[in-house]
């Protein structure tokens, strides 16, 4: 087989994550392309949760498959949720202890249903919680994978709980493996691997690596699902790289600290989700007004208010675009894959320093929490552009004059000094100010300053501001963020059927690449804007920039679940 999807589901706390981690570690090292989505609920213990892993021998994948080949069910909810995704060659393994075999309807023909003694076998080893390793063993046997390569990884994972525990877990794995082998059950072997060595990581992890690689050395944050991992990982890793990370008392403080650190010359950031962005709005305005670089990750989740903290949404776009009072320059980048999330951090810090303004990374829950294969980190992609920083030598030469930190220049960007630099002292205030930074209400200065601040970002670009694929003569599908995977597969599906379909994933949400998009739209017969929110926030931005709305259609999904390729193809089918 060229690809295979395994789902492991159960109550939170049943060790599903361990199975996923071990399985993916081994498969990733072998060179498979992987995509893994964690579906979790906002309670701590209990509540259904599952891990949906798609394994591919070849092409890169950015979304889950819609068919499940192997379902491991520790709870009934897993079966309820996935039963209709079973193929006529799929296998369901359900826990004989916690799921009754007559509690769910019979699946379609061809599906093999196995009452699996996960708990039983684990209990034989003295600890029912090892049922997850039993399950892992069964999965491996079904895939025809050699069991021994898993031993080391299992050991590494459990060694901190003692050698005894580690060994018992390996034994549990073997019991599961043997169970399948003995039964001489169907095996679903994966085809030969075509990729080179990969990393396998989540968007959150990618953004952390990217930040450090980009030279970020200060982060202040406050825990919030699903952005907490950024804070946690940075707290863990930063000391090794010489930086400082603070868990602040709230988001008001987080962003203010980051602004302070950036003013002091250190590349600085914060990361949050919905409610945190709301609290940060005032400070976002300050960083825009005083032209201090700043990187802000907003990992969008289900809103409004506390909303659906563990569910998918892309509904903070208007808040990022215009949430602070008054008007400031800002740049908004939307990574659509884990690999982009990694390198976008480098771009974000460069643009923040080049344009001296806040830069948002508009991430979303699916991107942040699901794991994808990505090429091994390439250091060469992190060249630093610190923008118009004045050197000590230049300052010495210039001598003691008033430093015009907000000087009017041709490109609207003013040279910048940082504390510690002699002859570079200056004042920064959120009040309207003149070139020296000191307040003035003079209306002519005000007009000039507004033009300077607002227009300086006009030239900002990511290189590829819109990611395009395919020829969109018949149909152009537009999206941003993690919907890329679903859009890509839907679009590929149409192309295979001869419908000329193109995709345009907007990578730079602001300043908006209107001209480029307009020419794409002009070439297309039908245009669909796909987004995970109610009002069609991206579509509305597009309509602001593009006259003739007639062929623009919205496809909104706002029930907390990510788009499936079929959501898009079903919707579009009616149009083309």
């Amino acid at each position: 087989m060229e690809e295979l999807t395994i789902v492991i589901g159960g109550e939170q706390g049943e060790g599903i994550e361990s199975v996923g981690e071990i399985l993916t570690k081994v498969l990733s090292q072998m060179g498979f392309s992987l995509y893994g989505f964690r579906n979790f609920s906002s309670r701590i213990k209990g509540g259904h949760s599952d891990f949906n892993l798609r394994i591919c021998t070849g092409k890169e994948i950015y979304v889950n498959a819609e068919k499940v080949n192997i379902l491991v069910a520790f709870d009934k909810a897993s079966i309820d949720l996935y039963l209709d995704q079973m193929d006529n060659s799929s296998i369901i393994l359900f826990d004989s202890k916690s799921v009754k075999s007559d509690s769910f309807p019979l699946p379609k023909d061809g599906v093999i249903v196995i009452e699996a003694p996960f708990q039983e076998l684990a209990s034989e080893l003295g600890s029912p919680i090892m049922k997850n390793m039993v399950a892992l063993g069964m999965i491996c046997a079904l895939n025809n994978q050699s069991g021994s390569v898993f031993h080391q990884v299992i050991k590494n994972r459990f060694i901190k709980k003692g050698t005894k525990t580690a060994e018992l877990n390996i034994e549990a794995f073997e019991k599961g493996y043997a169970f399948i082998q003995e039964k001489n059950l169907y095996s679903i072997p994966l085809g030969p691997v075509m990729n080179s060595k990969n990393m396998f990581l989540s968007g959150n992890e990618a953004m952390v690596i990217g930040a450090i690689a980009a030279g970020c050395r200060f982060m202040a944050g406050y825990p919030i699902t699903p952005a907490s991992e950024v804070l946690e990982n940075l707290i863990q890793m930063m000391p090794e790289f010489g930086g400082v990370v603070v868990q602040a008392e709230d988001e008001l403080s987080s962003i203010a600290m980051a602004i302070g650190a950036s003013f002091a010359g250190t590349r600085s950031m914060t990361a949050t989700s919905g409610p945190g962005i709301s609290l940060m709005q005032e400070a976002i305005g300050l960083s825009g007004a005083i032209e201090v670089p700043l990187v802000i990750i907003d990992t969008q989740r289900g809103g409004p208010s506390s909303g659906l903290a563990t569910k998918m949404e892309q509904s903070d776009l208007t808040a990022m675009l215009g949430g602070t009072h008054g008007e400031i320059p800002r740049i908004i980048i939307s990574p659509s894959t884990v690999q982009e999330a990694l390198y976008d951090m480098g771009t974000a810090f460069n643009l923040a320093e080049k344009y001296q303004c806040p830069v948002f990374i508009a991430a979303d829950l699916v991107l942040a929490t699901s794991k994808q294969s990505a090429e091994i980190l390439d250091p060469l992609k992190f060249e630093m552009d610190r923008g118009k920083r004045v050197t000590d030598e230049e300052l010495a030469e210039q001598g003691k004059v008033v430093f015009d930190r907000f000087a009017f220049t041709k490109d609207h960007i003013s040279p910048r000094t940082i504390p510690g630099q002699k002859n570079g002292t200056h004042h920064a205030t959120g009040i309207e100010h003149g070139e020296t930074g000191h307040p003035t209400e003079d209306y002519k200065n005000r007009e000039k300053m507004m033009i300077k601040r607002m227009n300086k970002i006009e030239t900002a670009t990511l290189g590829e501001d819109i990611k395009t694929e395919g020829n969109g003569e018949d149909l152009l599908i537009i999206g941003f963020g993690s919907t890329y995977g679903a859009i890509k597969e839907a679009s590929e599906g149409f192309n295979m059927k001869g419908i000329k379909t193109g995709l345009a994933q907007i990578r730079l949400l602001h300043p908006f690449p209107a001209d480029q998009l307009e020419s794409l739209i002009n070439k297309a017969r039908q245009v669909i804007v796909v987004e995970n929110n109610f009002t069609g926030q991206l579509a509305n931005v597009i309509k602001q920039h593009i006259s003739d709305h007639s062929k623009i259609q919205k496809l909104s999904k706002f029930d907390g679940r990510p788009f499936k390729p079929s959501d898009i193809s079903n919707f579009c089918k009616e149009l083309v």
């Binding site: 200060f218 000391p239 400082v244 403080s253 650190a261 950036s262 091994i376 504390p419 002699k422 205030t429």
Partner: protein
């Protein structure tokens, strides 16, 4: 050797004639000169209010931030560059109203900055509303029937928050004010100086005369031990906060000193950086 002239700006403060904040401005400038700090090695971060305008009047690296958030910004500056002398300044509304949370947390973290509050017991900039330190019963624009609330007690709050240096001063006594600011700057850790700084325009109760008549000097109190938190808490009550001097002082590790090993050793403030192979390996080891 820095000079007073270097710290001066060619800008006339927009304060009312007679405003207490002039003395605070002068005292800060004199203190840093007497401590021989260079302008470029100092960051002055302020909040929003009449008092908050102070950062625009001292020729150092300065930022006039947001109402209530100056201390958070100041902590970021200091954590990013511990070599800087960081002074944070603002008003009573800024620090004890909207900004009280950051005050408490900065104090317990013991970030090594000096926080100077110009406490005029009124909202000056917005033209005379009651502030969190306005006395109970005081008539203001927003309490025409008298302030119905019991005021914040900034000194006891600082004590409860774990501030490691707490003092109180009066704009009418610049010499003592200077001395306290100097002690605050020299103190390793979070230092807090509450300055009675009369608003001559909107506060007709808490005037220079009032303070002159009522303030006692703590150093002159026999047996007062500024290393005793309990004693400090009680003296605030006994004097109804009407004192000047060092209320409390105690050395403990600053946040910078308490961070995990390695933290802050390579903040990349100046210059460039490129990933080498060993750093790269450290970054990706968990993900392959």
């Amino acid at each position: 050797m820095s000079t007073l002239k270097e710290f001066r700006m060619d800008i006339k403060p927009n304060w009312c004639p007679g405003c207490g904040d002039f003395s605070v401005l002068a005292a800060i400038q004199k203190s840093v000169v007497s401590l021989n700090i260079e302008p470029e090695d100092m960051a002055l971060i302020s909040g929003i209010g009449c008092s908050g305008r102070i950062s625009g009047y001292v020729n150092v690296y300065s930022m006039h931030t947001m109402h209530g958030r100056a201390l958070a910004v100041a902590q970021g500056v200091k954590l990013a560059n511990p070599d800087l002398n960081v002074i944070c300044a603002g008003g009573d509304g800024d620090g004890f109203g909207i900004g009280l949370n950051h005050f408490a947390h900065a104090a317990r973290r013991n970030v090594d900055i000096t926080y100077i509050v110009m406490d005029n017991q009124i909202y000056g900039l917005t033209k005379g509303q009651m502030s969190p330190t306005s006395p109970h019963g005081m008539e203001t624009k927003s309490s025409p029937g008298g302030n119905p609330e019991q005021p914040v007690n900034p000194l006891q709050m600082a004590l409860a928050s774990g501030s490691s240096f707490i003092a109180q001063a009066f704009s009418g006594d610049v010499k003592q004010l200077m001395s306290l600011i100097e002690q605050g700057i020299k103190h390793k850790g979070f230092s807090f100086i509450n300055v009675f700084s009369p608003c001559v325009t909107f506060n007709k109760i808490l005037t220079y005369e009032f303070f002159k008549k009522n303030l006692v000097i703590l150093e002159e109190k026999k047996g007062y031990d500024p290393s005793n938190r309990g004693m400090a808490f009680n003296i605030v009550e006994e004097t109804s906060s009407m004192f000047t001097g060092v209320l409390y002082k105690n050395e403990r590790k600053t946040l910078t000193e308490s961070l995990p090993k390695g933290s802050g050793t390579n903040m990349l403030r100046q210059g460039y950086f490129s990933l080498n192979e060993s750093m790269k390996d450290k970054l990706i080891k968990r993900f392959i």
